[in-house]
C-alpha cells in the first residue's frame, strides 16, 4: 500500500504549532533565514523553476515560469495568496490556516524575497473565520519577532502581510476575480491578457499563488531542488525533440470525500492511481466504485474503467480531465449520476458572476435541463431518425437503422458546448468558469449516458448497475479524443 509522505502536513497536529515558539522548535523560519543568508533572490526563483513546482490552486501552471513573467522594473509588485478555497471537494488550505499558519507566512516571506515584493494580501474566504483569526494572530507574532515589517531581521527588507476577507462568492477564487474583489469591487474576472503577472492588483505586477503552493517553498529551499524532484513522476514529453521533461514533482494534499470510509486530507507523492488513493482513504464505502471526480467539481468525471489513471497533472490531462485543486470525490454504486450532475449544476448556476451572456444564461439553462430530466420531464423526441454511422458496406452514412432521439441530451450538450467547447477547448467567456460548467455537464452525460436516457425514458430517476450505467471507453467519444499516452514515458 502507498505510504503517506507528510511534508507540508508533517507538524500539523503538533500542539500549539500555531504559535511562533513551537513552530520555531520545528525548524520554523530557518528556511527563510537560509534563503536570505545563502541565496540571491534570482537564485531562489531559479530553484523554484528547477523544482518543477506546479500551482496547486487549480490551473497547475508552473510556479517558476509564472514568476519569470513578472517585470522586475515596475514597482511596487504584489503577492496575493489565494485562500479562497471554494471548489467543492477541496479542504486542504483550511487546515494550514487553522493549524499551521506560520508555515504559510514562511512561504510568503520566501516568495516576497525572491520576487522583491513588499506587500502581500491573503484573500481568505469569508466563511473561514477561525482560519483568519489564527492567521491574523500568527502575523501579529511574526511582526513582534521581527520577521515582518520594516527591515526584516536586519536585512533591509520590508515585508507586510495583510489578510483580506471574502464574502461568499466562489468566483473570487479565480485569480482576476480575486483581484477585482480585493480592489473593493464585484468579483468579476478580467479579460486576459494582460495577465496578473504583468498587470494585477492596483494595475501593478502581481503574483497570485495558492496557499498550498506557497507552503511548498520552505521545503524546496530547505532541502534543495534535488530532494524535491525525487518525489513524484517526471515524464518525458516525446512530442518535443529533444523530449521535454514534464514534471509532477512534490507531494500533493489530496482531499478525498464522498463514499470512502475515512475521508480527509492525505499528503502523498503525486502520481498514485485512483484505486490506490481510495485504499489509502480507508477503502470504498459501498460495493463498487461508480465514478470518481478527480479535481474538484469542475473536473470531468472518471468512470470505473479509468480507476488506474494516475492522479497527477500530466496523466489526468491525458485522460481529458484535470487534477485541479486535488479534491477527489468518490461515488459508489448507489449514486445516481443525473442527481449528482444536478447538484453540481445548481452550484454553478448560483455562482456565475453574470458578466458573459453564454455563462449567465447558459449555466442556469443547463441546470434547468438536468432538473427536468431528474424530475422525469426530460424531453424525448418520439420520432425516430435514421442512424448515421459505419454502414454495412464499410462507408459512413445511413446505416438503415433508426434511433430514438433524446432531445434534451442533445440540447444539454449543445448548450454546454456553446458556453465552452470541451472538444476544441475553446470558450466563449471571459474566464474559465465556462469550462468548469461544460466539463462536468458533457463528461457526465457522455460517460453515463444510459442513466440519463433511462431517466428520460422512464420519467423518473433510475439508478442503473455500474456496468450498465457506464459507456465503455471504446464507444465513448470523450475517450476517443485522448492523446496517446505512449508519447509519455517515465524519464
Amino acid at each position: 500500500m502507498v505510504e503517506e509522505r507528510r511534508i507540508l502536513y508533517e507538524h500539523l497536529d503538533v500542539p500549539d504549532i500555531n504559535t511562533f515558539d513551537v513552530f520555531r522548535q520545528y525548524d520554523g523560519y530557518t528556511r527563510f533565514e537560509k534563503a536570505i543568508a545563502e541565496y540571491q533572490p534570482e537564485e531562489i526563483a531559479q530553484m523554484v523553476l528547477d523544482s518543477g513546482l506546479k500551482g496547486r490552486g487549480g490551473a497547475g501552471f508552473s510556479t517558476g515560469e509564472k514568476w519569470s513573467f513578472v517585470p522586475r522594473d515596475i514597482e511596487p509588485r504584489y503577492l496575493c495568496c489565494n485562500a479562497d478555497e471554494s471548489e467543492p471537494g477541496t479542504f486542504s488550505n483550511r487546515y494550514v490556516l487553522e493549524k499551521n499558519p506560520h508555515l504559510l507566512i514562511e512561504g510568503i516571506l520566501i516568495c516576497c524575497y525572491a520576487m522583491g515584493i513588499e506587500t502581500t494580501y491573503v484573500y481568505i474566504r469569508g466563511e473561514f473565520t477561525l482560519g483568519k483569526k489564527m492567521l491574523d494572530a500568527a502575523i501579529k507574532e511574526a511582526y513582534e519577532k521581527g520577521y515582518l515589517g520594516k527591515d526584516v531581521r536586519g536585512t533591509g527588507l520590508n515585508i507586510d502581510i495583510y489578510t483580506h476577507p471574502g464574502a461568499g462568492a466562489y468566483i473570487c477564487g479565480e485569480e482576476t476575480g480575486l483581484i477585482e474583489s480585493l480592489e473593493g469591487k464585484r468579483g468579476q474576472p478580467r479579460n486576459k491578457p494582460p495577465f496578473p503577472a504583468v498587470q494585477g492588483v492596483f494595475m501593478k505586477p502581481t503574483v497570485v499563488q495558492n496557499v498550498e503552493t506557497l507552503c511548498n517553498l520552505p521545503f524546496i529551499v530547505g532541502n534543495g531542488v534535488e530532494w524535491y524532484t525525487e518525489m513524484g513522476p517526471t515524464y518525458a514529453d516525446t512530442r518535443f525533440d529533444p523530449p521535454k521533461p514534464d514534471a509532477n514533482t512534490g507531494t500533493k494534499l489530496y482531499c478525498i470525500s464522498g463514499d470512502v470510509n475515512e475521508p480527509g486530507v492525505y499528503e502523498l507523492d503525486l502520481g498514485l492511481t485512483c484505486t490506490e488513493l481510495i485504499e489509502v482513504a480507508g477503502g470504498l464505502r459501498g460495493e463498487e466504485v461508480k465514478a470518481v471526480i478527480p479535481g474538484g467539481s469542475s473536473a470531468p468525471i472518471l468512470t470505473h474503467y479509468e480507476l488506474d489513471t494516475r492522479l497527477d497533472f500530466t496523466s489526468l490531462t491525458l485522460a481529458k480531465s484535470m487534477l485541479g485543486s486535488g479534491g477527489i470525490i468518490v461515488m459508489n454504486e448507489t449514486r445516481n449520476i443525473v442527481d449528482c450532475l444536478l447538484n453540481i449544476m445548481k452550484f454553478y448556476a448560483h455562482e456565475s458572476c453574470g458578466q458573459c451572456t453564454p455563462c449567465r444564461w447558459g449555466t442556469p439553462w443547463v441546470r434547468d435541463i438536468v432538473q427536468r430530466i431528474a424530475d422525469g420531464n426530460g424531453r424525448k423526441d418520439t420520432i425516430t431518425r435514421p442512424k448515421f454511422g459505419v454502414a454495412e458496406n464499410g462507408r459512413w452514412g445511413d446505416t438503415g437503422e433508426t434511433e430514438e432521439i433524446y432531445e434534451d441530451l442533445d440540447l444539454l450538450e449543445s448548450v454546454a458546448n456553446n458556453i465552452a467547447n470541451v472538444d476544441t477547448m475553446t470558450w466563449n467567456t471571459i474566464c474559465v468558469f465556462g469550462i468548469a460548467v461544460s466539463w462536468p455537464a458533457v463528461s457526465y452525460m457522455r460517460k453515463f449516458r444510459p442513466e440519463f436516457e433511462a431517466a428520460i425514458r422512464e420519467g423518473k430517476l433510475v439508478t442503473l448497475p455500474v456496468a450498465e450505467a457506464t459507456v465503455p471507453p471504446e464507444e465513448n467519444y470523450a475517450y476517443q479524443q485522448r492523446f496517446i499516452p505512449k508519447e509519455f514515458a517515465d524519464l
Binding site: G89, E127, G184, I256, D259, H350
Partner: protein, 172 residues
C-alpha cells in the same frame, strides 16, 4: 436610493472599537475603495445587516458613490440587506455533503425551527417568527471530510445527524 429614504432611517456610524479597527485597515491599501469588503463586514457585524444608512456611511468613508457600495453588497451572498435572526444557520448542500445526507440535516432543521429556507432575495422566508434563527443553504464550506456540516454564525459543526443538531441547538 433617494435622500429621503436614507433620512428616515436611523443614521449609522461605527462605534469606537470598530472605528479603531477601520482606521487600522484603511492604511493597508493604496486606495481607500479596496477596504470595501472588510469595512462592510465590520458594519454588518455592528448593524446586523446592511441598511441604506450603512451604505451611505461606508460610501462616505471610502469616498465612493452609494451606488458603488450597493453594487458590491448585492454581489456577495454574505452581505444581508434585510434583518436576519440572532443565529444564522448555514447548511452546506453541495455534492460531498449531499453524498453524506445533508438533506436529513436540512429537513430536520426546517421541521424543528418551523421555517422555510431563506433565499438571497427573501431572507424573511427563512427567519423564525421570534427572530432567533435564519436558516439558509450555502455552497461547499471546504469541510467535506467531516460532512455534513453547518455553520451557526462563525462556528462550524461537523459530522451532523438529526440528534446532533438537536443537541447543538439546545446548547446555543
Amino acid at each position: 436610493m433617494s435622500e429621503e429614504l436614507i433620512q428616515i432611517e436611523t443614521p449609522f456610524a461605527f462605534n469606537e472599537e470598530n472605528q479603531r479597527e477601520f482606521d487600522e485597515l484603511i492604511g493597508r491599501y493604496p486606495i481607500k475603495e479596496a477596504a470595501m469588503l472588510p469595512t462592510l463586514h465590520l458594519a454588518q457585524r455592528q448593524a446586523g445587516y446592511i441598511t441604506p444608512a450603512v451604505m451611505k456611511y461606508v460610501a462616505e468613508l471610502l469616498e465612493v458613490t452609494v451606488m458603488k457600495v450597493k453594487d458590491v453588497v448585492t454581489f456577495y451572498p454574505m452581505f444581508f440587506e434585510e434583518p436576519v435572526g440572532e443565529y444564522v444557520i448555514r447548511v452546506c448542500h453541495t455534492l460531498p455533503c449531499a453524498l453524506r445526507d445533508c438533506k436529513v440535516v436540512l429537513d430536520h432543521l426546517k421541521a424543528k425551527l418551523d421555517t422555510d429556507i431563506a433565499s438571497e432575495t427573501n431572507l424573511a422566508k427563512g427567519t423564525t417568527a421570534d427572530g432567533k434563527f435564519t436558516l439558509m443553504k450555502v455552497e461547499c464550506l471546504a469541510s467535506c471530510d467531516v460532512a455534513p456540516v453547518i455553520m451557526i454564525n462563525d462556528d462550524l459543526y461537523k459530522n451532523l445527524t438529526a440528534e446532533k443538531v438537536d443537541e447543538i441547538l439546545d446548547n446555543l
